[in-house]
């Protein structure tokens, strides 16, 4: 059953990611990216990451993608034109990517030591309580530094996007 669910959601994720790259209109790409993120949230849940699956849906598929969709609708650019590329990029780019995937696939299947298979419920430390405890004890300093990062991002976004007032 685990394997059927994995294949289902992995298939959805790969098809949506492919659609993201192929689609000419940015709003179609954005919707595909939401599909990828929702499928990945289900896969995180299968790996025992309850908290991170919820955060994926709320933060990524919710907040960040709403930001993207807002900007796409604000700018309202239509389809993009056909790209002019260097000759060796248009001929050799896709084969190079396939070689990259095949190489890393070979590495992870042959060089990684064999481990037990992933079963739903095999890892239960991904709850909000367990993550929160670790976040506020072992990772307290990075967590606090994060708040400064967010503050910088807020100020930076406002400064960049404001209207010039003379």
């Amino acid at each position: 059953m685990d394997i059927v669910l994995f294949l289902l959601f992995a298939g959805v994720a790969v098809v949506c990611a492919l659609n993201l790259v192929i689609q000419k209109h940015p709003i179609a790409s954005a919707l595909s990216l939401i599909g990828v993120m929702a499928a990945l949230a289900a896969i995180y849940l299968q790996l025992g990451g309850e908290f991170i699956a919820a955060a994926q849906l709320v933060v990524y598929a919710g907040a960040i993608m709403v930001l993207f969709v807002f900007v796409i609708m604000l700018l309202n650019e239509g389809k993009e034109r056909k790209a002019k590329r260097l000759l060796w990029v248009s001929i050799g780019g896709l084969p190079l990517l396939f070689v990259f995937v095949a190489l890393i696939h070979f590495m992870i299947t042959h060089l990684l030591p064999a481990s037990e298979n992933v079963q739903f419920g095999g890892f239960t430390d991904g709850t909000a309580a367990a993550i929160g405890t670790k976040l506020f004890t072992a990772y307290l300093l990075p967590f606090e530094v994060t708040s400064v990062l967010i503050l910088i991002a807020i100020v930076g976004a406002i400064v960049l996007a404001r209207k010039e007032v003379d």
């Binding site: 790259v21 994926q56 990259f100 430390d125 976004a157």
Partner: protein, 110 residues
């Protein structure tokens, strides 16, 4: 050869998750390299971040520690900050040049 060529009750091999992550990352790289709309390029970066998050969670399962979950949580936070600033930059670029084509925003190169 039996069909399907894997056991339906044995669970999912960990390498399948890693392979899925590699495929998503490669698709992100493809989008980053071949697309010229600046927003789509930006979404490809988000796709690559998601692929790396999947690797963190998969290895977190293998090692039976939730540190990987915390790392991917931080990746999400950084992605949110990056999206806010990056989209503000895109808005400014569009305001000044009326285009979203990355090839036409090249005054630093020329």
């Amino acid at each position: 050869m039996p069909f399907p060529p894997f056991s339906l009750v044995a669970g999912v091999p960990l390498t399948w998750y890693l392979t899925l992550s590699v495929i998503l990352f490669a698709l992100g790289v493809a989008g980053f390299l071949f697309r010229r709309n600046i927003i789509t390029v930006f979404m490809s970066i988000e796709l690559m971040l998601n692929a790396v998050n999947l690797t963190f969670i998969a290895f977190s399962y293998k090692l039976k520690q939730n540190d990987g979950h915390i790392f991917s949580f931080f990746v999400m936070v950084v992605a949110a900050a990056e999206a806010a600033v990056g989209l503000a930059i895109i808005l400014t670029v569009f305001k000044n040049r009326q285009t979203l084509e990355i090839d036409e925003v090249s005054s630093l190169k020329d």
